[in-house]
């Protein structure tokens, strides 16, 4: 008896199309995906979309500082739809540029942590032995420790900067990938197809990369999707605390921090709007990641 859910898809449809169809089952996830794409495009094309370059001092007018949303600029050439900050910077432009930095930092930290964790996890899971024991000890200790503390300590040692915050984020997140890869690699490594590949005399590198790795990917994708959101939030938090990015490269977290003192005088827009941008970014990623987890989870699929 074939389950009715299978009947809707014609035969010969590849696994990818199946995943897409399963993903599209949730309207909420689709909305999240649309939002995510919008955000990604806005971040990518920030210099072309932004009304002004917020870091070109020539374009700023100090007389326009702390204007409420919707105010026209002093020279009447543009309207500050989201208001201005203490330097007379257009908030919309600052948010677009800040989004760009937040996304770049979050994504590059995630990719690097994924690669590092995956490599270590594959080796540990496939070969086992003393390296495996040692690595898992380190992973256990690292995971028991809150990521924010690890990152804070590293930043305290290294100082500020994009490269440093990426290192700090990688250091506080690689362990998730190492553990996930290792456990999947151990399960997959015991299956018949790996045994068959060994019997065929394939090289270890080929077995690990061509046979083992692709089968370890689904859970890793889910973890990575959730961790991008975590990385962006963590970067924003660190920058807000003044430990992350320098003032010359203001991410959303720093923009929010800059507006903090003006909250008390009711100039909410300097903090609120960058916060909304940050929230929407994280929310969109979480919605997509949640659905990805349901779609890629083999345990749920069989039901």
């Amino acid at each position: 008896m074939s389950a009715p859910a299978d009947d809707r898809l014609p035969l010969g449809v590849g696994p990818f199309a199946r995943l897409v169809a399963a993903f599209a089952d949730s309207r909420l996830a689709l909305a999240g995906l649309a939002l995510l794409l919008t955000i990604a495009l806005a971040a990518a094309f920030a210099p072309w979309l932004a009304p002004q370059n917020p870091y070109d001092l020539m374009q700023l007018d100090i007389l326009d500082s702390r204007l409420a949303p919707g105010s026209p600029s002093g020279d009447g050439r543009l309207t500050y739809h989201l208001g201005t900050d203490a330097q007379g910077r257009d908030m919309l432009s600052a948010i677009l540029y800040g989004l760009r930095i937040s996304v770049v930092v979050g994504v590059s930290a995630t990719v690097l942590a994924l690669l590092l964790g995956m490599a270590l996890g594959l080796v540990a899971g496939y070969f086992g032995g003393r390296f495996d024991t040692l690595l898992m000890r380190i992973v256990d200790i690292q995971l028991a420790f809150p990521s924010i503390l690890t990152a804070m300590i590293l930043l305290a040692l290294f100082g500020q900067g994009i490269d440093k915050i990426v290192i700090a984020l990688v250091a506080s997140q690689w362990a998730y990938y190492a553990r996930t890869t290792r456990s999947t690699a151990m399960v997959e490594g015991r299956k018949e197809y790996i045994e068959a590949a060994r019997l065929l005399g394939l090289s270890t590198a080929r077995i690990v990369f061509r046979h083992l790795l692709p089968n370890c990917l689904p859970p890793l994708i889910v973890v990575a999707a959730l961790q991008v959101a975590a990385a962006i939030a963590l970067e924003a938090t660190l920058s807000f605390l003044g430990l992350g990015l320098p003032v010359t490269e203001p991410s959303l977290g720093l923009l929010i921090a800059n507006g903090f003192q003006y909250l008390y005088s009711g100039r909410y827009w300097i903090s609120v709007f960058p916060g909304v941008a940050l929230l929407l970014t994280i929310l969109a990623i979480n919605l997509v990641a949640d659905q990805l987890r349901d779609v890629l989870n083999p345990r749920l699929q069989k039901q």
Partner: protein, 325 residues
Amino acid sequence: MPLFVLRRFIQAFNVLFVMSLLVFAGVYAIGSPLDLLVDPQATTEDLARAAAALGLDQPLWVQYWRFLVRAIGGDLGDSFIHGSPALGLILERMPATLELALVAMLIAVLLGIPLGLWAGLHPESIGGRAIMAGSILGFSLPTFWVGLMLIMVFAVQLGWLPAGGRGPTAEVLGLSLSVLSAEGWRHLILPAANLALFKLSLIIRLTRSGTREALQQDYVRYARAKGLSNTRVVGVHVLKNILIPIVTVVGMEFGALIAFSVVTESIFAWPGMGKLLLESITQLDRPVVVAYLLLIVVLYIGINLIVDLLYAVLDPRVRIRRTSE
């Protein structure tokens, strides 16, 4: 049982030892504190004398050994900034942080379990969906931004609650506490709510999925078949089973709550050890950072131990397995 506790203690000391190595290597071995301590105009002889006085001319392992011996005696060095023992500075601020974290965890548990239960019992209802949507939002909202919004709404716009600070405290058994006075609560409630939000979402999700899973179990159907009231089925049969993972998570997350209080404390100017840590990091006050880290590690190990013991109390299967170990 005692054997199991003993084994846990040995494990704990191992972890503590490894962490002390890491902390020492990370904080002391990288860069020289001399640059910070000694007047930049000092001569080479001055520097050498200062280094000898601080023991920095010794090989690293000797330095570590001295650090370790002193640490066991409770001496983690003096703060560069405050000039007083680092550990003392931290301990002085610990009650404020612990109080904040405890109240936050209490909020998360007392709201999270009923909401999660309700959402698990009525997953398709509007209320159940709203609770779930709220918890997704709670996961996505960055803690520090929520803190700002709370200040903006409740302190600035409505003027109901103070925007920061701890307010008056009462001394009980040598601890100064906020929870004993109404004014203390007024200062406590916003930061505690801020800190609780993320854990609240977590507990809602855990309780909801645990409830849904438990409801599928035969023992729930059987309890119904015995003619038990719905209250008893949910309140005893379901709840007792889902409490086990919840207790574990609450315990594990309590450490994270203390760590994350860094953010909340700095937003609400709460005079706890998180705020002190942040100040020490920006002022390069290494002994205080080290003291904080080691204290956190000890706290973590203690919490883990308590969780394991609680686990054994709640889950008879664990209790049996462990005694037979």
